[in-house]
Symmetry: C2
């Protein structure tokens, strides 16, 4: 197991930092009112690579970081990804001769706003957590029909809405929608009453493809990972989702954490998917460990009150890896593009304390949760702030994702308010 790599940026050597030299995640930041810059997190600082490039200190194609987001860099491909990581690792290492040259390009992370680190080309969300699928299936269709017949054969997914992906910190407005409860005679148009979170990981596609790709090729196409909260209106979903899947229930917003943690940084934490209950078709079999051991948690803080941790789980609970999902995604010849985002599906573990959605935690609202503040929750209330956190835990260091948060605002008074 790799050890902590020490940096001349002192805060990067603290045992609890999310951003040691081993990590080097990629984000986009701005000073209030200023233009976007590409940045690399190191301890409590951000290395401004857009300014480094402008000053001629990087050997990448001109303008790679000019847009302030990472799509153009991704487009350079895996060799450039690896070379740049090596360059950064050496430049920021304790004892590097570049310290004096690079120090002026560090900005304090507390003084800037983080923005979307890449332009989302298209967004696909999967349903690839065994425990989540069983829990939700049981609630919607009963335990005997919980797992659809295709579930153990296909990483089930649906296309989501890229335009609705937002950066952590963006407020989330409770949606209006068409609903029909089981006791209603006709549907109504009203604000969602069963608005929920989904704790997920997002995989970012860094290479384009124009035909089917193997699981190994798919793994090579993945640039990095973020935390992802797929906000979900359960009452809208229940009424709309047959026969063509969730649509408006999932289109209000999907929040992601601001730092893209690269696949390279996560290398020491690779792990295999759980044992197969049915053998997969050859095109979906993993040639090696392509899932990751990443501790995850989600907390809920009511307006002005302390946070309660709702759930702790791990990315290694997924039945299908992002590489398997991506390989399946291309089987039809579906072209993939740089900046495509794949949501893992909700990551629930085997126990109640490991469930990644309120739908599961409150069992469809039948067993409201009691928060540390004494309040109860079946679904989200206005003013609640939800925060996902995640980290791969190494020997004396952590590859952290930072956090992914969003606060629920009340619905507008009228739909067109």
């Amino acid at each position: 197991m790799t050890k902590l790599l020490r940096s001349w940026v002192e805060s990067a050597n603290a045992p609890q930092t999310d951003f040691p030299l081993n990590n080097l995640p990629y984000g986009a930041f701005r000073f209030a009112g200023g233009p976007l810059h590409c940045g690399v997190a190191i301890g409590e600082m951000i290395l401004d690579v857009t300014r480094l490039e402008a000053d001629g200190k990087l050997s990448l194609p001109a303008g790679t970081f000019a847009s302030g987001i990472w799509n153009d860099f991704m487009d350079l491909g895996p060799k450039a990804w690896a070379d740049f990581r090596t360059f950064l690792t050496e430049a920021l290492a304790e004892g590097s001769p570049r310290q004096a040259e690079f120090e002026p390009y560090l900005v304090e992370s507390g003084k800037v706003c983080m923005e979307m680190p890449f332009r989302v080309s298209e967004y696909t969300d999967f349903y690839a957590g065994r425990h989540h699928a069983f829990n939700v299936g049981t609630m919607f269709r009963g335990p005997e029909n919980a797992l659809p017949p295709n579930w153990l054969h296909i990483p089930i997914g649906y296309n989501g809405r890229a335009s609705s992906v937002v950066i952590s910190g963006t407020d989330i407005r409770r949606p209006w929608g068409q609903l029909k409860g089981p006791d209603m005679e006709a549907p109504i148009f009203a604000p969602s009453r069963r608005f929920d979170l989904e704790l997920e990981m997002g995989a970012i596609v860094g290479r384009s493809s124009s035909g089917p790709v193997s699981v190994q090729q798919a793994d090579d196409m993945i640039f990095g990972y973020v935390l992802l909260n797929d906000w979900s209106a359960r009452d809208i979903q229940a009424w709309e989702y047959q026969p063509l899947g969730p649509f408006q229930a999932k289109a209000t917003a999907t929040s992601i954490s601001p730092w893209i943690v690269t696949q390279a940084a996560l290398g020491p934490f690779r792990t295999s998917t759980p044992a197969r209950e049915k053998e997969l078709l050859p095109y979906l079999r993993e040639p090696g460990p392509m899932l990751y051991d990443i501790d995850l948690e989600v907390g809920l803080a009511p307006e002005g009150k302390p946070e309660t941790i709702l759930s702790r789980t791990n990315y290694n609970e997924m039945y299908y890896s992002a590489a398997q999902q991506l390989a399946h995604h291309t089987t039809s010849g579906c072209p993939m593009r740089v900046g495509d985002l794949l949501g893992s599906g909700t990551i629930s573990g085997p126990e109640k304390a490991n469930r990644g959605s309120l739908l599961e935690l409150s069992w469809g609202g039948k067993e409201p949760l009691t928060l540390d503040t004494g309040e109860t929750r079946s679904f989200l209330e206005d003013g609640d702030t939800l925060t996902l956190r995640g980290a791969a835990i190494g020997d004396g260091y952590r590859i952290g994702f930072g956090s992914c948060s969003g606060k629920i605002l009340a619905a507008t008074e009228t739909p067109y308010g």
Copy 2:
């Protein structure tokens, strides 16, 4: 009813042209190997507006047509759309003083290649044809459950894959996919055996929005329409679509016709949606006629053989208009963007001769069609060329869409071939 507007471009006055002065649809073309140009179809000619702009002959923001596609123009908004249409109509009218000035900017449509006229931001496909929904529902779930309970209340839709949208003329490779017929014990990975077309219209969103919009606002946001063929692998769809909807079955390709027929050109052909079987919620009610009377047909030509018309139908068969679909699409707060494409859903009419897919025409393969050549078809065969055509029929003129065609190529021998 408007009459034919005469143009100094003689071929635009022929009664059977798709592109009289009344139409003026927008496309993107190139000479072999050359850059993209924005063009306007007029009879058998194309007016090169990218070159007109480069020569300073247009009063639009500099560079509007520099990309050779229409997204930047759409982004200028409805006043610019109307002004430019008025300008073109006057410049190309019989007797216009601009004839000598504009003649050098006409290119023969037969000498150029048509390309995608706009960059598709995201693609949504609906399921909004009453006859199609009933036919397919009957086959999949039996006549008593044919129409899902939500169908008469919601324009049911799902997010498709923008990266798979291609221009008419692009060959369509038969996809591989995971299939499981009702008689198979386990799924297999194989080329689709039930590959199909879907005759649809596509509506192009020309204005962005960031919250719910009314049906009237939605109608105002629609820039124009194209013919759309949503290629569909029925065997992949049948196995994958529960519970989250079609995914790889619809991701191989979606073909569109090259000319964007503007909403303005279609104005004289507005018509109301059919009578409601259940009253819609107020947010979905039409404030006026927002559907269009457009004759549609689809033909199939086996390799090297003449074409058989499979079906004739009309866009006015849709139960929901594109404006209603778009309004519903925004209810959750889902942001819409310039270049979003909405597929109408398959447009089948009441009779067998009006069905817009082979699934319906051959009743799931149980009643193969006999072509004029004597061959039969349940689903598409390799080498088949499918062609959609459409036109709104005026008094002595037609607002034509041109055609939308694609030829089926055999699947690759191995999935990764």
